[in-house]
């Protein structure tokens, strides 16, 4: 098995994990559960971009990983603020 084939296997494992996490997001649950699952999904996508950059020897894809990491952080902070404001209005 060459290195590129092994990286394809790693990408398949990451895709499997991402599918299981998407099932967790779709499953009924509270908003905080889904936000936690989305945070994990964003970090797994960053991992996948890193693996793909190593597989194709393409350093330009690392810029994509920087942007995705920032986007994951911004979404989790925004959803957390939203949940806090929503709970404050109900009580």
């Amino acid at each position: 098995m060459t290195f590129e084939q092994l990286l394809l296997v790693v990408l398949a494992l990451l895709a499997l994990a991402a599918c299981v996490i998407v099932a967790r997001i779709v499953r009924p649950g509270s908003l905080a559960d889904r936000a936690v699952a989305f945070d994990a999904l964003a970090s797994i996508i960053v991992c996948g971009v890193l693996v793909d950059a190593a597989r194709t020897n393409d350093g330009l894809r690392l810029d994509l990983a920087v942007v995705l990491g920032l986007l994951g952080f911004l979404t989790s902070v925004t959803v957390a603020r939203f949940i806090e404001i929503q709970d404050g209005q109900e009580s």
């Binding site: 996490i21 967790r24 936690v36 994990a40 020897n57 994951g72 949940i83």
Partner: protein
């Protein structure tokens, strides 16, 4: 000698990538099986820090150019700084009242 260095770099980056993928699988199983929001947060923060760290080390060892290594270091440091902040805000918003 350079052939040996190439094989060693491939082995090290392959081990790092496989560790990152296993962490992602374990976290996705834990998100389904743990019972509490904060327990699930405990499962979800492993790939957010250690998984990205492992994949970043693998990409750094494999690419091994100054510009690429710098970008991967930026990704890792950004993730290590922002993941606890986001998890803290989510945990504070998910507390019981």
């Amino acid at each position: 000698m350079s052939e040996f260095v190439g094989i060693a770099r491939d082995v090290i980056s392959a081990i790092a990538f496989i560790a990152g993928a296993i962490l992602a699988i374990v976290a996705s199983i834990g998100l389904h099986r743990l019972g509490d929001t904060r327990s699930r947060m405990h499962a979800a923060t492993k790939p957010a820090t250690l998984g990205v760290l492992c994949c970043g080390v693998g990409a750094m060892v494999h690419l091994a150019e100054v510009s690429d290594v710098t970008k991967v270091l930026v990704i890792i440091i950004l993730q290590l700084v922002t993941a606890p902040v986001g998890a803290h805000m989510l945990g504070r918003s998910a507390r019981e009242k």
